[in-house]
């Protein structure tokens, strides 16, 4: 009995501790949500002037903000597509074939993961400046794809480690050619890993600050817009948009996760 009570008090302390940590993690989100309903119109938008839904409507009139959001989305979608194609081919190729320099590729893939982002940012900036790639959407897509590729590859690799090679052989034995086998067997089996990698690339791209900061030229992404507005105070419509993005991401993740779980069951 005494022991049980002791155990329970451990449980309570643990629960309190975990709640405090979650409070720490979520408090800024609460601030963002509350400020998105703040009726204040004067900079730096800190004092509470009452509750309003206006900012959720007004944000659709803020063209600069919408433009930066549109840029962010275009960059994220292009990055996701490119990183997923290059990454999927590479992950499968490196799994299937032995070749010289494989360990070098492996080592290079860890550079963008381990190195501080600022180093990647300035090194791409110097390259783009040197070979006169105009800085803007295009350079941002190239930069984001660069840091996303490794994550896509690692995600698919985790899936490949449980991959049964014999189903490919079976497909070829039954007369399918390489291309057919790749599209009809390899890709569907790896789909959950690919989806997970693509989702990661997407979220890394929309959230990126540091690499974008150095490679954007005049093009604004949403995080850079936030950075620019921090000096004068982030206005409530930016908060409102952030809340909408959070909800959007949550929906996206729930949808893909349930897809991934289904895929796992089928395997």
């Amino acid at each position: 009995m005494k022991q049980k009570m002791k155990k329970n008090s451990y449980g309570v302390v643990g629960k309190i501790y975990c709640s405090l940590i979650y409070a720490f993690l979520f408090l800024p989100i609460v601030v963002i949500v509350v400020n998105s309903f703040n009726a204040t119109t004067s900079k730096p938008y800190l004092s509470w002037k009452g509750f309003t839904f206006d900012w959720y409507l007004k944000l659709f009139e803020n063209e600069e903000l919408l433009q930066s959001f549109q840029n962010t989305m275009i960059i994220a979608v292009c990055t996701t597509i490119m990183a997923t194609i290059v990454g999927t081919l590479a992950a499968v190729g490196m799994y299937k074939y032995k070749f010289r320099g494989k360990s070098t590729i492996d080592a290079l893939l860890y550079i963008p993961v381990v190195i501080p982002e600022i180093v990647l940012g300035i090194s791409l900036l110097t390259l783009f400046a040197k070979i006169s790639i105009p800085r803007g959407m295009f350079s941002l897509i190239l930069a984001h794809t660069t840091f996303s590729i490794p994550y896509v590859i690692f995600n698919i690799r985790a899936r490949l480690s449980r991959y049964d090679n014999s189903i490919e052989e079976a497909s070829m034995d039954l007369g399918a050619n390489r291309l057919k086998t790749f599209f009809n067997i390899t890709l569907p089996v790896l789909a959950p890993g690919i989806a997970g990698g693509a989702l990661l690339a997407f979220t890394l791209s929309i959230d990126d600050v540091i690499v974008s900061y150095f490679t954007n030229g005049q093009t604004m992404t949403l995080p850079l817009k936030v950075m620019e507005s921090i000096k004068s105070g982030v206005s409530p419509d930016v908060n409102a948009l952030s809340v909408l993005i959070l909800i959007g991401t949550a929906l996206l993740v729930v949808l893909t996760q349930s897809g991934i779980l289904k895929g796992k069951k089928n395997m």
Binding site: G93, V114, I115, V119, I122, M227, I245, L246
Partner: protein, 288 residues
């Protein structure tokens, strides 16, 4: 090489591996080499980079202001990492070994805040902690203090912001390591008379050390570069190496000096990764 091998291996493997090789060569290897070369370049009076070999940039790194920032940056990174370990270890232990059905949810709740842009969340802390912020209003409304307290703009808040940004990178590897712990080992240790503390030091800690090591690398290294955290919360007296680099790469500044600073950051990173591998860490655990 015979034709068959060409068709069966060489062509498909080059189609699959080729793109990533070109991509890495062009956007990782060449830029980094170029930064290395640039760190030995000079600038003309308009701050243009000229290819004239010099050691000036590296000599410039020994400037006492810079030395101070390197030291400060390492101290900030060290405290951030230590704080993350101390906060995240018990937390990860509790959520990884809970028998509750909500385990996946508890894990997801660590990641969800990261779906909102990190800048705006850091700004959220500034709103909360500022002299006009929520915390000060609360303290004054409850008469705990009668004047506003300045919580912001010091090394402490920079470290706080770093811990906030990087906390999940400590939780994720710890969670993985702790989840793998075999419960029967813990029972065996306590059956054999080991007290809780003994079990922890001799059984749990060594078995979860890999998580602590990879978490530490994933927290320590980014801390050296996160210039925006000290920009927003630190107010100029808590620079990290990233701030020095950022300033040199703003338009019209000394890029070669910035390149040399980046080389320093790369060397520190490589040394840390080597140390990590010496401790038995596997580089493969550093992804996500």
């Amino acid at each position: 090489m015979n034709k068959r091998k060409l068709k069966s291996t060489v062509i498909p493997s080059s189609i699959m591996i080729g793109p990533v090789v070109l991509w890495l060569a062009f956007f990782i290897v060449i830029p980094l080499l170029y930064v290395f070369i640039m760190s030995f370049c000079s600038i003309d009076e308009y701050y243009n980079v000229v290819f004239k070999f010099t050691f000036t940039n590296y000599k410039g790194l020994l400037n006492s202001n810079y030395l101070y920032v390197y030291a400060q940056s390492l101290v900030i990174a060290f405290i951030t990492t230590a704080a993350c370990i101390l906060l995240a270890y018990p937390f990860s232990f509790l959520i990884a070994r809970t028998k509750s059905k909500k385990k996946t949810l508890l894990y997801m709740l660590v990641i969800i805040p990261f779906w909102t842009n990190s800048l705006i969340r850091i700004y959220g802390w500034r709103t909360f902690l500022g002299t006009n912020g929520w915390l000060n209003n609360l303290l004054q409304a409850t008469h705990i203090t009668n004047h506003a307290i300045e919580f912001l703009y010091n090394k402490g808040t920079t470290i706080f912001g770093m811990v906030y940004c990087l906390f999940p990178f400590m939780v994720l590897p710890l969670y993985t390591a702790i989840e793998k712990l075999d419960g029967s080992l813990l029972e065996a240790s306590s059956d054999l008379g080991g007290r809780k503390a003994q079990t922890f030091i001799h059984v749990v800690l060594p078995l979860t050390a890999s998580g602590i090591f990879s978490g530490s690398i994933m927290v320590f290294i980014p801390t050296l570069g996160y210039f925006f955290v000290s920009n927003i919360l630190g107010g100029g007296n808590s620079d990290v190496i990233g701030n020095l680099i950022q300033r040199q790469f703003q338009s019209g500044n000394n890029w070669p000096l910035g390149a040399a600073l980046s080389i320093v950051l790369i060397i520190i990173t490589l040394l840390l990764v080597k140390l990590y591998q010496k401790c038995g860490g596997d580089i493969e655990n550093l992804g996500v």
